[in-house]
Symmetry: C3
Subunit: 360 residues, 3 copies
């Protein structure tokens, strides 16, 4: 942690393109923390109006807030239009990113003589690098990582413990994979034959772009033929499951427990919320957003917002939910209409019977 | 396995607060088994009336049953109000809990010299304990476990193979973590900037209370700031996914494939059934119960029972399901009402035309 | 890769029971590839009419197509009734199945002296085989695999990196388990007692049949008592979660993120699509099919097709979805009926008032 004076931090934000103003004492802050947990000398922030009341009780010395939010006088306020971006920059400035243990090239790492390892390797005990694999410069691999035959890892990658990269798969530069994730396992490729399943050799691979971050315990199938692709800058939460031959564009964000079947094509900047499922062979357009637990079973237009299972455009999905909630009322209105119509008919027929000369 | 006479077992149950009566011979039983699989000399039980007919065909010598259930004369019946609790106590008495292999402090475990290890360590080959980590007394770690820098593990913990505890995370006493689970990975914390995602350093940690059991292949994000918390006595099934900064109270039960987003607050004794999802920043009250596959997108009251996606109170959710099932009938009634109203109008207009003096 | 002449390949298909005809030059093909990615000299195929237009642009030299599909003259067409089976056989003939690294019996594998290992072992560094375990002939275990005490592995099994088999569990012959999967962890077996959860020892095991393939990061609970069973020939995708005591028949196919609770009985040839959930103690009949994200909460008949949460027979589920989509229209028709009935009543009462002699 590097303590920083708020006026200096404002300059750092400026270099990040974030204009901020300071109201109150120009204090030194030593850490960023939540409003609830912050101690004296710490910087906090208001990310969500839900937590507005916590401004009154926080022990922080300074807070990052959006414009227009009232702040108690004892707190120095750092105002800007993008508090989320400002907090990110503040955390980076004060805390920085994780420092990894330094193992160098551990003697107990099992590195095949035909593998090529770049400069400044940081390979823990219990790492296995197989024949003909290529590892770039400055790569960190925690214990239990396995790099299969002929796999290629770019520069500046970080693989947390027990990450498995199957044979022939490719990671770009600056890729981070969290613990227990598996890249390149065979997909569920079986052909039915006389009531049994015959395995289709899965001879494709996975290609992961630059600056991708994969959460923990994810699984990304290799393609049956050709390649499964994860676009540059895309970020996955935990336990994201990607089927064989699926191609995901750049800068997407997939939350935990998302599952995509095989041969799906996803554009750029697509957001899939938690537990979303996508059926096979579909296309999801650029900048589409799919809400939690939605089940996508048809193509999604660019910029569309989808919700529900089966997934519908957001407005339709919400209207359906509202109307399903109104079903008890609708059922009641239907019953009273039926009763009323019965009465009307009786009244009309009675009237007919009495007020009209009998027709026959 | 320790064979036990049924009268002795009844005493064991009594010490566990379970009053039982014996009907039939006071036999010695050598194992607990299902009605279907039990052999002679074994004790079985009826947990679910669904399996009542299996009492007729079981080869067990004795059965634990609730009061009021008829039992064939050849079987000794042990009756009590809580058969589930009685079977638990019987299994503990006869079979006991798993005995772990004894590795002591394996020579091939990689233990940093600055780590502190308590008494009676049982650390397998392929275990890594990083710098400044603290491990309590009587801890068992199976092969492939990784304890990050500065992590703290309490007394009497059991980590099955390939469990990963990231840097700085804390486990209480008597915590069990099944194989492949990951505690403390970075959450999905990225700030959007010019169409790309900028990583927010995740500088918080995870704190797990005492007597927690975590299933296999779960993932628990560290907090961005502050801590993610798992309350004492809470139990997770497999592949439970917990987002950053979420705080879960004591004695909760989460079934497999449950996913909680970030900053959720869960009370005590909350039950989440399989595949439940909970959106971010929500509060779930004490003793709430959420049914399988429900999608919680608003706060849940204490003791509430919820179902559906979006989750509704149980009665509303069931009524919705019933009414959706009745939609075909409602659509039919609506059509016949429309027809009837058309006829009424025709009849009324016809009558008006014939029975009334023309108004103009 | 073994290049093959198309006429020879046709013979190979014939031996696999697939009759094919050749139209065009009898070329040699050196690889199978997708229409999009194929280069000259390669064989491709049309699996889905969705990709029909790709036939025009592919650089492949030959294509496997179903009867009746028009193929550009420059391509040799191999026609048959089962293109999927034909492609499978072609990939096997030309590419074959994965060749594993050959470690023999690695010196750094930790094999307990009381374990029995069959002939031709292929056990990597970082493999642990515990006391009294039995491993059959020709087994491959990648680094980080753990075989618990008394577990039994059949012949010709392949365990990819970091697979964990708990104590006492049994795999048949020719079983493949992908990376990170866990077999035999304790299920969520806890009895409530005074607001806390008391662990029920899980003394059963898991028995996996022959020719089973398990995807990556799956978890299969051991039974509390007796055994959890996975039938011969059954195939799982990734992150399939199976509860304790569940018994699955032969030749089933479970897609990614499927979760079954405990004590479920599944017949043979059952297909569960992605993210399906099944509640405890249910029975799913032979050849049933359950659509993606469905929530099964009652028994499923043999050969039934189910969809939705709660799962309904396919036709009912689709009708519900259609009718929910028509709710806005139904609500509108209900409103206009109410208005019309009001008018009719007014008209009728007005008429009554004027056209009828006052009754009292």
């Amino acid at each position: 942690m590097t303590p920083i004076r708020l006026s200096q931090l404002r300059e750092v934000l400026g270099k990040n393109g974030i204009e901020a103003t300071l109201e109150g004492d120009d204090r030194i802050v030593s850490a960023v923390n939540t409003l609830e947990a912050a101690a004296g000398g710490e910087l906090s922030f208001l990310s969500n109006v839900k937590y507005l009341s916590a401004l009154e009780t926080t022990r922080a010395d300074a807070v990052i807030v959006p414009n227009g939010v009232q702040v108690p006088a004892r707190l120095t306020a750092m105002r800007c239009r993008d508090p989320y971006g400002a907090v990110t920059a503040a955390i980076v400035a004060i805390h920085g990113y994780r420092k990894h243990p330094q193992w160098g090239r551990s003697l107990s790492a099992q590195i095949d003589p035909t593998a090529r390892i770049g400069s400044a390797p940081n390979l823990a005990n219990g790492v296995t690098i197989s024949a003909a694999a290529v590892v770039g410069n400055n790569c960190t691999m925690y214990p239990g990582c396995y790099i299969g035959e002929g796999a290629r890892i770019g520069d500046d990658c970080v693989l947390f413990p027990n990450v498995v990269i199957y044979d022939g798969c490719v990671l770009g530069n600056r890729v981070t994979v969290h613990a227990g994730s598996v890249i390149g396992e065979d997909g569920l490729g079986f052909a039915p034959q006389n009531g049994h399943w015959v395995k289709i050799p899965q001879i494709g691979r996975v290609v992961v772009g630059d600056d991708v971050e994969i959460g923990a315990n994810c699984t990304i199938d290799r393609a049956t033929l050709g390649q499964t692709e994860i676009g540059s800058g895309t970020k996955f939460g935990n336990v994201v499951v990607i089927g064989h031959g699926t191609k995901i564009g750049p800068d997407c964000l997939f939350v935990g427990l998302v599952g995509l079947a095989g041969s799906v094509t996803v554009g750029r900047n697509v957001t899939l919320a938690g537990q979303v499922g996508v059926a096979g062979h579909l296309t999801i357009g650029d900048e589409a957003r799919v809400g939690a637990q939605a089940g996508v079973n048809s193509d999604v237009d660019p910029k569309a917002s989808m919700l529900g299972s089966p997934a519908l455009p957001l407005d339709d999905a919400r209207r359906s939910v509202v109307l399903v909630g109104k079903l008890p009322e609708m059922a009641k209105r239907l019953r009273s209409l039926e009763q009323e119509v019965r009465q009307l008919r009786a009244q009309l027929n009675g009237q007919v019977a009495s007020g009209e000369r009998a027709p026959t």
